[in-house]
Symmetry: C2
Subunit: 111 residues, 2 copies
DNA sequence: TAATATACATTGACAGACGAGGTATCTTGT
DNA sequence: ACAAGATACCTCGTCTGTCAATGTATATTA
C-alpha cells in the first residue's frame, strides 16, 4: 500500500537535501535512490522533483552544474551549499519535534 | 519554535477525528484541546478547521447537530460515524508506516 | 525499427492552508 | 453604562506545493 502524498508533503526538500548530503548527484539518480530506500513504495514525481530543485536553488540551498558525460543524456548535477547544510539540520530537528507533536495530537484519551 | 504547517498538512483530518473519537465535540473546544495537547505550540487556524469539518462531513466521516445551549453562542457539535472510525484507524496505521518511511528518506548514508 | 530506459523540463489544474473579514452572544473591568 | 475581550460560528480569495500531461533528446535492447 502506498503512502498519501500529503503525508510526505513538506518533506520533499528534506529528502532531496539528505541525498545531496551524501554527495553531488543528479535528478534522475536521486529519484532512483529514493525509490530504492523505500522498496518502491515511494517516488517523487518528476514535476515535483524539478520544482523542488528550482525552489532549493532559489533559496541558495543547492547549486547546479552540467555533467561532462561524453555519451548518453546530459545530466544536471546538484551540490548542497553551506546554507543547504544548515537548512537540512534545521529541518531534521523540526521533524523530530513534529513527530512527537503529531503523535500527541492523533492519540485518543487513555481509557 | 513552531512547526511548519506543511509538516502537519495531511494530518488535519486525523487530528480532528482523534478528538471526536473521545466523544462529540464542537469546533472551538476541539481547537482548544489541540492547543492544550501541544502546550500552545500548535493550533488549527479557524479557516482550516472549518474547511476540514466540511470535508469530513462530505466524506461521511462525521455528522453534525446544533447544541441546545440556553445561553452563550450557539455550538455546532460533531459526531464521528462508523465510516469516520474506519478512516481514523486507516490513517493511524498509514502514519505509522509513513513515519518509518520518512525517517529512511531523510537519513544520510552511514559513515 | 520499435520499444524502453535514461535524463531533462514546463504548463495548467487542483487541493489544502490560512489571512482577512464578517456575524452574534456573553462576561468582565472601569 | 460601555468598552474590551472571550466564546463561537462562517466564507472568500490567495498562495503554495503536488502532479498529470506533454515535450525534448540520446542510448540500449528486443
Amino acid at each position: 500500500m502506498s503512502i498519501a502524498s500529503d503525508l510526505i508533503r513538506g518533506h520533499t526538500d528534506t529528502i532531496i537535501l539528505a541525498r545531496l548530503m551524501d554527495g553531488d548527484n543528479y535528478g534522475y539518480e536521486i529519484n532512483k535512490s529514493i525509490q530504492q530506500r523505500t522498496d518502491g513504495k515511494y517516488e517523487l514525481k518528476e514535476a515535483t522533483l524539478y520544482t523542488a530543485f528550482r525552489r532549493l536553488e532559489g533559496a541558495g540551498c543547492i547549486s547546479s552544474y552540467w555533467g561532462d558525460e561524453q555519451t548518453g543524456a546530459r545530466r544536471r548535477y546538484y551540490k548542497i551549499t553551506d546554507v543547504g547544510r544548515d537548512t537540512y539540520a534545521g529541518l531534521i530537528s523540526e521533524w523530530a519535534r513534529a513527530k512527537i507533536m503529531i503523535d500527541k495530537l492523533i492519540e485518543t484519551e487513555a481509557e
